[in-house]
Symmetry: C2
């Protein structure tokens, strides 16, 4: 993975992915004690940045791979990104999703034309089901993060941040990204290394699922003790990726973690101050910007809100509990 | 008012107002039975397009007018737009707001540095209070719609629609705009007349407050029988403006009206499909796109979502009642 791959993915995404704007609010600046620029990837097609990686991976397939189809495992955002990209390319897509994924994510993935196969997180062996389907049908597996084309596609977020932040007069900043397997963090870090070397990626995870923060601290891949137990469903991956972690170890600052309630509070703040819909896992970087002031450096923060695929009932409860997030 | 004034306002707004993107969703296209492009002005500074008109008006003031200050009456979005623009220009601002305006709008207007004067819609004479303050302090009055600079500022939305729709391959469309006093509709209609003559503005109002639709039908200004009674607080104006109505009569198609429940349903659809926050009055044009198919012409619609300044409790109830809006 390198800048050339990211630029090539960005070229294939031009006119396909949305160039999401940078948003801001004086109210959030005041809460964070710094200037905060928000990259709202919840406004991306399919409601999350995962559209970029899905499109980058599907558009890089050979003709014979396209004819046979693709398979992936995802709790929902990568699922929708791959499903949407596959449909646009006329490629069959099989998606393994946990049966407890948000209903909206399962319904949307099906509506985007993918074949959804549900499994039980506690009882079923996901890897075995995936391997069997891959074998039987000759499908091409697209990992949600340990795939160079996927990481390159996510890196297009970093190219846009470098350009848009410079237009806004910001050249030095910490760039906060929600982190599951590390595909977005690694892609953005590589793009910034080349295009905005005074910016540094900081990963943000849910407390209790801070495998990347602990891995960055120890220098080697550490796993999470649990697979479930946070509302931040989009970023509960077992451990940093084999492809992504070396990049993060080289380029990212110390990892951050926030509580579920802080994520919900950040969702309420994004509702009140930015008029955008963030899902819990998509809001953790904003939560760190607002509630981890002492762990952050410098005068400006750039915050990626990665997705907005949240069921209405969860969102309503966040608003009822936390008002405007302040 | 003419294209030159709109272009001049747009030039003063460049780098100040956000150029909001055009969004879309295959799910909304399916519901509407047409291609739908959404202009989300809820993502504008202060959470509504009113920032544009406020900025255009304040930036056009003379030095002596700036020194004395401005006054306006508004239920909240124009209030915040004027307050924000006035603060940026160092101009004192007095805003008359009804005491039953949404709490978020009152709090934000104060936080933006304006002096807020509350009045009781039923008991007080707003015009008399406004005239007295204007006289006593030598303030410049900025009407929310019957002000040429305000209309010119709102017209910048139309310039952007013409450009962005052409980039998306759309040159012929009905352009649905929420309508209170008609400032946005008139400004957009003038811009489109010059830049996208195959597009036509259609105003959308709450049922029971369809003064513009009735005025367009009769050819003369008709008033609403009531001043309150819809959740669409942002667009409950007594009658079309003296400045705006002649423009709409010349350029707009027949007016449309939707129910409060349809507006709430459209808010839920915007939440689920676009990941944006629309307030009730801001969502009426989307509601017309989704629920007035038979009253609309052509293969493409452009829908302006005018604002997102809604209290969390109202938004939560919309989600609980209407799910994804379908």
């Amino acid at each position: 993975m390198n800048l050339e791959m990211i630029e090539s993915a960005a070229a294939r995404l031009a006119g396909r992915a949305r160039r999401t704007p940078l948003l801001s609010s004086p109210f959030l600046d005041a809460l964070a004690g710094r200037r905060v620029l928000i990259k709202p990837e919840c406004l991306q097609h399919t409601g999350s940045f995962k559209f970029r990686g899905g499109w980058a991976a599907v558009s890089a397939l050979s003709e014979s791979q396209r004819a046979r189809g693709v398979i992936t495992c995802s709790s929902g955002n990568h699922a929708q990104g791959v499903a949407s990209a596959a449909r646009a390319h006329g490629v069959p897509a099989v998606i393994l999703m946990p049966s407890d994924a948000p209903a909206l994510k399962i319904a949307n993935t099906r509506a985007l034309g993918a074949e959804v196969v549900l499994y039980d997180r506690a009882r079923d062996d996901r890897e075995a089901i995936c391997a069997r389907l891959k074998e039987e049908r000759g499908l091409h597996f697209i990992s949600a993060y340990d795939n160079a084309e996927v990481v390159a596609g996510q890196g297009s977020v970093g190219l846009e941040i470098a350009e848009q932040a410079a237009e806004a007069g910001v050249r030095r900043a910490e760039v906060l990204v929600p982190c599951g397997g590390g595909g977005l963090g690694a892609g953005v870090a590589l793009a910034l290394e080349a295009r905005a070397p005074q910016m540094r990626v900081r990963t943000v995870e849910p407390e209790g699922f801070d495998d990347t923060a602990r891995s960055l601290a120890s220098g080697q891949i550490e796993a999470n003790p649990r697979a479930t137990g946070s509302i931040c469903d989009a970023i509960l991956t077992p451990a940093p990726g084999a492809l992504t972690f070396p990049v993060l170890r080289r380029l990212a600052g110390p990892g951050l973690a926030v509580s579920d309630d802080e994520a919900l509070r950040a969702m309420a703040a994004a509702f009140a101050r930015l008029k955008i819909v963030a899902e819990p896992g998509g809001a953790v970087a904003l939560a760190a910007a607002l509630f981890r002031r002492q762990d952050l450096d410098g005068e400006a923060l750039i915050v990626v809100i990665t997705g907005g695929n949240v069921d209405g009932a969860v969102f309503a409860r966040a608003l009822e509990r936390f008002g405007t997030g302040e």
